[in-house]
Each structure stands twice: as structure tokens, then as C-alpha cells.
């Protein structure tokens, strides 16, 4: 069988696969552990939503592991609170990017991030500091870094009012801010696990387990401080003030109090998800209203279709038969690229669409280069088959080199985008690189195979130069 027909069959199979993936009603792929829902993922600028960039203050030392843990904890916390499809990603050395598609209630979400803060175990001495009090501690000592409006002013009164241990809670109002700076004994970084234990009398306690470093510190401190208060402070706000009854030698602590099942669990959740290994500050917020996003999507789609249509017309009119073949190749290119976008999956944003358009330009350029070359060779009196072969061979170096240069640029931009949470640059680079890759493939397989087959349909193509725009 002719090699060209083999190619054609492969191309058609690929095309069928792409169309199947592109179908909006596609149910998704499930092959073993490989699972894709195959939904078009739209970026925040197209569907509306919020992006928050959190950073670790410069004076705090941080490891990559800390940062990844923090991102994971934030994500768990958000999921536990029922915020949908939230993604937290680390970028560079001290940045976490949170994306909340479709979120219009920025207030709620940011409130939740703030709650999800730094957990500290604080030496309160003999004073039982009431819950909800904002206290100062000596941990991190982060002075406000650049932000004019400090977020610590508001107090989030916690609902776990029954969590105080043993002694009668002081009835002082919760909104007082104490002036003393307390010493932080331990932070959430040393907390290994938190669980709720049900006692014999239907009472509940919250059990804490610390890692070995935490256990040592706790042992040392509790031995010398029996009867003192070890306050639990989340984001500088007191959530519980238990007193130390006995020294704790093994890192296994229990908070005893008049807990109900519910309040014990609530405290456990706060301790578990609130124990971020590092403090985070909100560095950047972007909110795009859903109507603006929808409007951008509709209009850029319309513009894309109109532009695409005119380009296809032009190709057909100017280059005739090869032009029509190129049109087919470009449609093919668009279908495959879109299928890859859905498979990866690539989040489509406005810059991402720009990257896609640029690579469509490259795909067209490859075809134009070849056809201009084809016309030249035909003018020089070659036969059709020779001319096609020569055109491909001669146009290849320029297509290859120009596309490799584009790929180099895309790779560097992708690196830049991922270290800085600049997801718009990353989206642009990714769609550009994928598009350029596919365009190389389609120009050299699809256009070539189809053109070869189409030329065979005509007898004496050399006698009918009009077919080739000559």
C-alpha cells in the first residue's frame, strides 16, 4: 500500500480521536489510574473569580517543604469549608498562589484564608486570657511589611466558647487587646496530629501529639510551669487557654474541658488545619466579576471565529488548491491543539488565547512558506511532484529554526511565570509551545499528505497553473 494512504489513515484516526475529545459532551477518560474529566478549564479572567498571592515575610526562613505543606493545608482547609475547585500552588521560594474560580464573595474567602493562620502555644503565665483576645507574641516578630492597612485589626470571635479548660472562664469582653507581648513556646509546625477522644462519662477531650522536637520543648516548659496557662493562639487570636495540670513528658497532651462532641471537633479542625508551618501575608488580590469574564469570553470567541474565517478565505483564494488543503490542515491543527488543551489540561486565559493565536500564525506561516516555495519551483519548470518535494525540503530549515526559537522563548517565559505566580505569562507560554509543536506536526504531515493526494486527483496538474495560484 502506498505510504501516503497509511499516513492518511493515521491522520484520520487522530482526527477522529481529537474530535471525540473536543466534544463538549465527552464523558471523560478512565484508563487504569489515568483519569481525565476532559472539561474545558477556563481561567479566572474568562469565567470570573479571584486570585490571591500569599507570601512568606522576608525575615522568616522557609524551606520548599514548608511552603508545599502550607499550600496543601490551605487547600484542605478550603475544601473542608466547602469552597469549590480551589487550587493552591507554590511559586518560587516564598509564594503561594490561590485561585478561586467563580468566587464572587471575596470577603468570605479571604476571611477563611486569614483564619487559616499561624498556630502558636503561648506562655500566658498566671493569666487566663479570654478567647477572641488579640495578643502579641514574640514569634517571627513580623512588623508590617509594606502593606499600609494591617489585617490584624478585626477580631474573629470563635464559636468554641466552651473550650476553656477546667477553671471558670473570665467574663471579660472578648474585644480587648492586651498590650503585653507573650512568649511563644511552640508553633503549629511541631504539631504532629490532633484527634478527639471520647471519655467514659461521655466527655470529650482533644488529644495533641507533638513531634520529637516539640515534645522536648513541651517537656522542659511544662515541668517548670505546672499550674500556669499555656494559651492556644491562632493568628494572634486566643482560641483556648488551658492550664497545665501535670508535666507533659512524651509530647502527648490533652486539652480537657467541658467539650461537647461538636466543640471538640471544631477545635480539632482549627488546630489541625490551622497549623501552618509558616506565616503568610496577602500580597496580591485580583477579583474579576463573572459578567466581565463572560463578556470577554464571548467577544474573544466571536473575534477568533471571524478572524479565522477571513484567513481561511484568503488562503483559499490566494493559493487555490494548496490553500484549501492548508485550510483543512489548519482546522485539523485547531482541533488537535484544543484536544491537547483539554487533555493536559491547560487553563485557558486571555493571554493563553493570544499564545494560541500566535501559534496559529506560525502554523499558517509554515504553510505560506511552503506554498511560496512551491510556486517558485513550478515557475522554474519543475514537474508537480518534484516541486512539492523540493518545496518541502527547502522550506523546512526556516520553519524548524524559527519554531525552535519560539520554543526557546516559550520555555524561558514558562519558567518566569511559574516562579512568580504570574499565571498569565505561564498560560501564554504553555499554549504557545503546544501550538508551535502541533503546527510543526500538521504542516509536515497533514498538509503534505493531503496535498499529495489531492494533486493525484488532477490529470496533468502542470498544465493547469491556475489551480496553484500561478
Amino acid at each position: 500500500m502506498n505510504r501516503r494512504y497509511v499516513n492518511l489513515i493515521i491522520i484520520l484516526l487522530l482526527l477522529a480521536l481529537s474530535i471525540w475529545i473536543d466534544l463538549p459532551s465527552n464523558p471523560g477518560i478512565k484508563i487504569g489510574s489515568f483519569e481525565r474529566s476532559l472539561e474545558t478549564v477556563l481561567g479566572l479572567d474568562l469565567r470570573g473569580g479571584m486570585q490571591v498571592i500569599l507570601s512568606v515575610p522576608a525575615e522568616i526562613a522557609v524551606t520548599q517543604q514548608n511552603l508545599q505543606d502550607a499550600a496543601q493545608i490551605l487547600e484542605n482547609r478550603s475544601n473542608a469549608l466547602g469552597v469549590d475547585e480551589v487550587v493552591y500552588q507554590t511559586a518560587g521560594e516564598r509564594i503561594i498562589v490561590g485561585e478561586y474560580p467563580g468566587a464572587s464573595n471575596a470577603e468570605d474567602v479571604i476571611g477563611k484564608i486569614k483564619e487559616t493562620g499561624q498556630l502558636e502555644f503561648v506562655d500566658f503565665g498566671d493569666v487566663r486570657v479570654p478567647e477572641g483576645t488579640v495578643v502579641e507574641t514574640d514569634f517571627g516578630l513580623s512588623t508590617s511589611t509594606g502593606a499600609e492597612a494591617t489585617p490584624t485589626v478585626e477580631v474573629t470571635p470563635t464559636t468554641e466558647s466552651t473550650a476553656t479548660a477546667e477553671a471558670t472562664p473570665e467574663a471579660t469582653p472578648a474585644e480587648t487587646t492586651s498590650a503585653t507581648r507573650y512568649h511563644t513556646v511552640l508553633t503549629g509546625a511541631n504539631l504532629k496530629s490532633v484527634s478527639v477522644v471520647r471519655g467514659q462519662l461521655n466527655d470529650y477531650t482533644v488529644a495533641l501529639e507533638f513531634d520529637s522536637e516539640g515534645a522536648d520543648i513541651l517537656k522542659e516548659w511544662t515541668t517548670t510551669n505546672v499550674g500556669k496557662i499555656l494559651g492556644i493562639v491562632l493568628d494572634k487570636t486566643v482560641i483556648s487557654s488551658p492550664s497545665v495540670n501535670n508535666p507533659i513528658p512524651d509530647g502527648q497532651a490533652e486539652i480537657i474541658g467541658s467539650f461537647t462532641n461538636e466543640s471538640a471537633n471544631a477545635l480539632a479542625v482549627q488546630l489541625r488545619y490551622g497549623s501552618l508551618p509558616i506565616p503568610l501575608e496577602i500580597e496580591q488580590i485580583r477579583v474579576i466579576g463573572p459578567t466581565l469574564g463572560q463578556d470577554s469570553l464571548d467577544k474573544s470567541l466571536l473575534a477568533g471565529i471571524i478572524g479565522f474565517g477571513i484567513v481561511m478565505l484568503f488562503m483559499g483564494i490566494y493559493y487555490r488548491v494548496p490553500g484549501v488543503v492548508a485550510d483543512l490542515a489548519i482546522i485539523f491543527y485547531a482541533l488537535i491543539t484544543f484536544a491537547i488543551f483539554k487533555l493536559v489540561p491547560v487553563t485557558l486565559t486571555l493571554p493563553g488565547i493570544a499564545g494560541f493565536l500566535l501559534s496559529t500564525g506560525s502554523a499558517l506561516d509554515a504553510n505560506i512558506l511552503i506554498f511560496e516555495r512551491l510556486k517558485e519551483e513550478l515557475r522554474n519548470g519543475r514537474t508537480m511532484r518534484q516541486a512539492i518535494d523540493l518545496a518541502w525540503r527547502r522550506a523546512w530549515p526556516s520553519i524548524r529554526d524559527s519554531n525552535i526559537a519560539a520554543l526557546i522563548t516559550a520555555a524561558i517565559l514558562f519558567w518566569f511565570g511559574s516562579t512568580f505566580g504570574a499565571s498569565f505569562v505561564k498560560g501564554f507560554a504553555l499554549t504557545l509551545a503546544l501550538g508551535v509543536g502541533v503546527s510543526l506536526m500538521t504542516a509536515f504531515t497533514v498538509t503534505r499528505t493531503l496535498l499529495g493526494l489531492v494533486v493525484d486527483l488532477f490529470k496533468d496538474p502542470e498544465q493547469r497553473p491556475g489551480l496553484f495560484g500561478l
Binding site: I53, A58, I95, A106, E107, G146, A147, E148, A149, E281, E283, Q284, I285, R286, V287, I288, G289, T291, L292, D295, K299, S300, L302, A303, G304, I306, G307, I310, V311, F314, Y318, L350, P351, A354, L357, L358, T360, G361, S362, L364, D365, I368, L369, E372, P397, S398, D401, S402, I404, A405, A406, I408, A410, I412, L413, F416, F420, F424, F428, L432
Partner: protein, 312 residues
């Protein structure tokens, strides 16, 4: 055959004519950086009608809340009415924004104000992003020079091709800056993240285009070795001219014009900058990069201050 390269100094003059006004504006007014690169807050508010509050009243309200250096603009909304306020101010957090919008509702007697966009960028990260963006562009340029030098290693002075491509690319970057500077004066354009994307697209396209033209010189130089370099280069440009014009028509005119005309407000500035930038990318391949190669080959700087020789 048309002699394109003969008039090369006219093209250089034309490029300078386009670039210098923009640079003067930038020198006088500074870069029109958006909050993405200098930090601050952009708040875009959708009002129910075109009865927008007075600019001075909005600024006064911001001042009361402790924000200086506030800029207020009106903008066309989705409905085509001028019912949007765009307010730029120093960095604020979400809580402050909510308080501010509530205050506006009571002060201006408007029942419903919806937030279309709220971008708040801390000054630290803005600075980091700016310096890294510059670094990324620089590294990309360097990598492209190296790649071109490698790809053209078979012909004499391969390094020149890389350098000339990058100079022409710088030309395109300057053109983009120039048009944005002019736009900043006429239509309050700002350099934001979309501007950076447009700039990156122009850079990518520009190098691609240079390589296509250079490739023809590379190919021709293998069998037209006896020809003087200027003739050879001119010949190559003319051969690729049709392709340059067609690719330009396709990618730039059609795609971007439709984007500029139908693409909605968010994309208009982006599309116009791209249109000019990509046009410049094609222009500079033919009228900057290739002529520079000839200038270098002839070492014309030695005769710049003497009388031009007849065969230049």
C-alpha cells in the same frame, strides 16, 4: 529586481522617527506602569446607570480613608454605556475595599454597586515581578542569539545574524513602548500584564520572522557565493517578500483587526499594541535586520562621516 537595501539609511531614519517621540514622552512622564508592576489597587465599579458620582467626590472619599494619589476614570461598560468607574489608588486590602464600596453606596445614594474587577498588588511583589520580567526577556534574547549563531554556523559570521536579529527585536520592543507611550497620553493606556503578554508575543514573532529572512540568505549564500553580500541579501529579501506580506496579512491584519473590532473592551488596547508590534516585527526583518547585516559586512561606519560612496 527591486533594490530594497540601497535606501537602508532612509529606513533607519523612519524607525527613529517612530521611536523617538515615544521615548521623549517616556523620558518626560516616566513609564505608564500599571499596578501589576508598581503595586497598588485598581477597583473597577459597575454602576446601575450613567449617573456617576463626581470624580472629585470619589477622590475626597478616598482621601478621607487615608489614600493619597488617587486617579479616577470613567469607562464604557458591557452595555456600551459610560457607567463604569475605574479607580487607581495605593495598595488596599479586601476589608478596606468592602468598607469603601459601602461608604460609596451611602454617600452617593446608589443602591447597587458591583465590583467588576479588584486588583490589589503589594509593592514588594510588584517590584520582584518587574525585575524578573526584564531578566526573562534578557535571557530569552541571549538564548536566541546563541541558537541563531548555532543554526547559522555553516555560513561566515554566524554570530552577526544573532546580533542583528536581536537589534531588530529591540527595535520592535522600542516601537511597542513608543506606541504605548503615545497611547498613554491620548487614551490613558497603561503597561499592565496584558501589555507584557503583547510584548512577549511581539518578541516571539519578531525572532521567528528574522530567522525566515535570514534562512533565505543562508540558503542563497551556498550557491550565490560570488555575488557581493548586499546583492545576495537584497535578492533573498525580495524572494521572501511575498511570504512576509502574506503572513503579515494573515496573522496581523485579519486576526488582530477582528480582535480589535469585536474583541470587547478588555482586549482592545492589547489588540492594537499587538497589531503595531507585529507589523513592526515584519518591517524590521526586511528594513532593519537585513540592512544591518549589510552595514556590518561593508563596515560602513568607517565611511559614515565621509562622503557616501556611490555604490553604497
Amino acid at each position: 529586481m527591486i533594490n530594497i537595501l540601497g535606501k537602508r539609511y532612509y529606513y533607519f531614519a523612519l524607525s527613529l522617527l517612530l521611536i523617538i517621540p515615544g521615548l521623549i514622552i517616556l523620558a518626560v512622564k516616566g513609564l505608564p506602569l500599571a499596578i501589576d508592576f508598581k503595586g497598588g489597587t485598581l477597583l473597577e465599579l459597575q454602576f446601575p446607570s450613567t449617573q456617576l458620582p463626581e470624580t472629585s467626590a470619589v477622590i475626597a472619599l478616598y482621601n478621607d480613608m487615608g489614600f493619597k494619589e488617587v486617579q479616577v476614570q470613567t469607562a464604557l461598560g458591557i452595555s456600551g454605556e459610560r457607567d463604569i468607574l475605574v479607580i487607581r489608588s495605593p495598595f488596599m486590602d479586601d476589608t478596606t475595599k468592602i468598607a469603601l464600596v459601602e461608604q460609596m453606596k451611602t454617600d452617593f445614594g446608589v443602591s447597587e454597586i458591583s465590583v467588576n474587577r479588584f486588583d490589589s498588588v503589594g509593592p514588594v511583589i510588584a517590584q520582584q515581578v518587574t525585575s524578573r520580567a526584564a531578566l526573562a526577556v534578557a535571557i530569552a534574547a541571549l538564548a536566541v542569539i546563541l541558537y541563531i549563531t548555532y543554526a547559522f554556523r555553516g555560513i561566515p559570521h554566524a554570530f552577526r545574524y544573532g546580533v542583528c536579529a536581536i537589534i531588530a527585536m529591540l527595535h520592535d520592543i522600542l516601537i511597542v513602548f513608543s506606541i504605548t507611550a503615545i497611547g498613554s497620553v491620548l487614551w490613558d493606556w497603561q503597561m499592565d500584564s496584558m501589555f507584557l503578554t503583547a510584548l512577549l508575543t511581539v518578541i516571539g514573532f519578531s525572532t521567528q520572522d528574522k530567522i525566515v529572512v535570514f534562512d533565505r540568505i543562508r540558503e542563497n549564500s551556498s550557491f550565490l557565493r560570488k555575488l557581493p553580500f548586499e546583492k545576495l541579501a537584497n535578492h533573498s529579501i525580495v524572494q521572501t517578500l511575498q511570504r512576509s506580506i502574506n503572513t503579515q496579512l494573515m496573522t496581523v491584519e485579519f486576526m488582530l483587526l477582528s480582535l480589535a473590532l469585536f474583541g470587547g473592551i478588555t482586549l482592545r488596547e492589547f489588540a492594537v499594541i499587538l497589531l503595531v508590534g507585529l507589523l513592526s516585527g515584519t518591517y524590521s526583518s526586511i528594513f532593519v535586520a537585513a540592512p544591518l547585516l549589510v552595514v556590518w559586512e561593508n563596515q560602513e561606519w568607517k565611511t559614515w562621516f565621509r562622503k557616501q560612496s556611490a555604490n553604497a
